[in-house]
């Protein structure tokens, strides 16, 4: 949770400095824009660059959650509850990819379903096969999915459950894809909101300085000295029962960003303090530019990169917060699907020990959080390689 400040420490001694021998490259460095320079430095930060590829993959999931799903995320079938993950068989029975047929029967002692794979009968599956109907980005109606049954006459014993199913027989893989969409966009919206708060407070604090600065800094300190999770819990428990998923979704992002903007405000204030006596700011002031114009047109663009770096470090924090809240049952509620909602099923040790695949979404969470942290770290180093910690 203390990642933002930590990443600063991690980055120390890890700073890529552009090295160039031949004159051509020197010239290109001299001619390169700020953005190109940052991009070059970022590419040299190997870990950050690799992490950013993982992050891009996750946001591809966000964009194509339905396309990647193999079953509708809310379709339940009690007869398929707690089905273990199915493997995909390659080059079997003349099919490039296929899944075994699975038949289930209820054990009358434990009342749990027991499944048996019948690998003599396989179902061919193919890329871009047909599945359930959905609208891509809410506009384009289609039924193509990344994996679908080759044979379109649906056999009742053939499903693709790559991550198995949960208690209600819902496909954990498809639910994970949709959870990724929800959790990662909550993070984005939350970060956008806290950037607005952060820039506003940070700019005022840093630009005016003096007593306004002191008061705002003390307020930030107070907010930071109060444990946030109990507050989030208190606030989100007050949502009325009849709220729709979208309302709850929106309010959660608002609540999270209500306290999360302080890190951003601090970074922005620091930049303003160090820039406000620069020549270009004085020049703008002497030319009669208004304060708001100086702040937003002259000063802010000169440290966009810092804002982006800080924002990408706040993103994992937001995702963890949302996951924690939903995990406790105080954030998003079913039928909404988010990482926290999925992991709520894995809260019970017994169920995890017997059905370890319920824990698979956790791997996604850890992966995306690690990747976002490394990427944010890389961006920050690239944005300002000479920054003192």
């Amino acid at each position: 949770m203390v990642m933002n400040s930590i990443a600063k420490i991690f980055s120390k001694g890890n700073v890529p400095v552009p090295v160039s021998q031949d004159t051509n490259e020197i010239n290109s460095i001299e001619l390169a824009t700020q953005r190109q320079l940052i991009w070059r430095r970022f590419k040299r930060h190997r870990l950050g660059f690799a992490a950013s590829i993982v992050v891009v993959l996750f946001y591809v999931i966000v964009l194509f959650a339905d396309f990647l799903s193999t079953a509708p995320p809310v379709d339940y079938a009690a007869a398929r509850g707690y089905m273990p993950p199915q493997g995909i068989h390659f080059f079997h029975d003349g099919n490039f990819m296929s899944v075994c047929e699975v038949s289930g029967a209820r054990n009358m002692e434990s009342y749990l379903m027991e499944f048996e794979s019948d690998c003599d009968n396989t179902q061919g599956i193919s890329f871009f096969g047909k599945g359930y109907d959905y609208k891509l980005w809410g506009i384009i109606p289609t039924n193509r999915h990344i994996l679908g049954m080759k044979d379109e006459t649906v056999d009742p014993n053939a499903w693709i459950h790559l991550f198995g199913t949960d208690k209600q027989g819902r496909d954990v893989f498809s639910r994970s894809m949709h959870a990724t969409r929800v959790s990662l966009t909550i993070g984005l919206v939350g970060v956008a909101l806290s950037i607005v708060f952060g820039i506003f407070v940070g700019a005022i604090s840093g630009y005016y300085g003096g007593i306004i600065d002191s008061i705002l800094q003390r307020i930030i300190e107070i907010i930071r000295s109060i444990p946030t999770i109990p507050l989030y819990m208190g606030l989100s428990s007050a949502f009325p029962e009849d709220w729709t998923i979208n309302q709850i979704y929106f309010m959660i992002t608002v609540i999270i960003s209500l306290f999360a903007w302080t890190d951003l405000a601090r970074v922005i204030r620091g930049r303003f303090l160090s820039l406000k006596d620069e020549d270009f700011v004085t020049a703008a002031r002497l030319n009669g530019a208004k304060t708001m114009r100086i702040i937003f047109i002259h000063m802010l663009p000169s440290f966009y990169s810092h804002i982006i770096a800080q924002a990408s470090l706040s993103l994992p924090l937001m995702i963890v917060t949302e996951t924690s809240l939903s995990f406790l049952g105080l954030g998003l509620r079913p039928p909404a699907v988010s990482y926290g909602v999925l992991l709520k099923d894995a809260q019970n040790v017994q169920s995890v020990a017997n059905m370890p695949w319920l824990f698979l979404p956790a791997i996604l969470v850890v992966l995306v959080i690690l990747a976002l942290n490394f990427m944010g770290d890389g961006i920050r180093d690239a944005a300002d390689p000479y920054q003192e910690v």
Partner: protein, 332 residues
Amino acid sequence: MLNFLIRRTVFMFVALWAVTLISFFIINLPEGDYVTAYIATLQATGSMVDADEADNLRIFYGLDRPLYVQYLKWMKEMVLHQNLGFSFEYNMPVTEVIAERLLLTMILAIACIIFIWTVAIPFGIISAVKQYSVWDYLFTFLGFIGLAIPDFMIALIAMYMFFVWFDFSPGGLFSPEYVGVPWSFGRVRDLIDHIWIPMVVLGTAGTATLMRITRANLLDELSKPYVITARAKGMSEWRLIMKYPVRLALNPAISLTAYILPYLISGSIIVGVVLSLPTVGPMLVRALVAQDMFLAGGIILLIGFMTVVGTFISDILLLWVDPRIRLEEGAS
């Protein structure tokens, strides 16, 4: 120094006041008030309350008055009588319901801080002194993992591993025979036997943080001329390192504790739920779900107080440990 003390004290009181405001706000957040909830409990047990009686009750509790009057009344009760209101779920005053749980939360937090210090500082020193050694890389790697995985996930993984490997589920802070009995020597020992799992789970992120900071600070110190001078004069290496640079590198360890504390308390809520600890966490979740708002507000208030006072104490500690702050403030 006096200046610093006064400023921190004033700051602490302002922060405490902010916590009371937030808690009161949360208590009043759900629709309906104390009386609505009270009537609901009465109706659940079969007795009926008519509208007149409800209005009388509202006047009796001052719920017809404006919100700021209610706030002042609530504050007065709290300061003068240590009364935080009444919990419907437990049918007891809030303070009685949470007393032991709050104590255990505090014990867990302190245990965590001790764990963080005892693990992070030596490891941080080793990482710095043997920079780029196998140990350094190992600790760095573990630190990254510890930081990136959220607390409750570590708790889940720990539970899973204990269950699968040792066939026992780590839950609670006491063995069954010590639940809800008065404190005794045996109970304390039982607590020590049980507290280490939540302590390690909760302390991972803080340990990683502090380890990195100790390492970074020590690396800065190690390259300074006074270290080279002492080495040139023939001082033994370990004595030199422990005596001067480590002392300097420890200051951030203390100031960081103030910074970690809110995260630790936040984390303890979620870890408490996962590991079903008898701390305030699970109780807060239940109170919020049941809309037992005085209990929920009381818990939020008290853990807020705990954090603010803890931060204050670590500030004072820093003053005591770091002469530079003392002198700087004294001179100005």
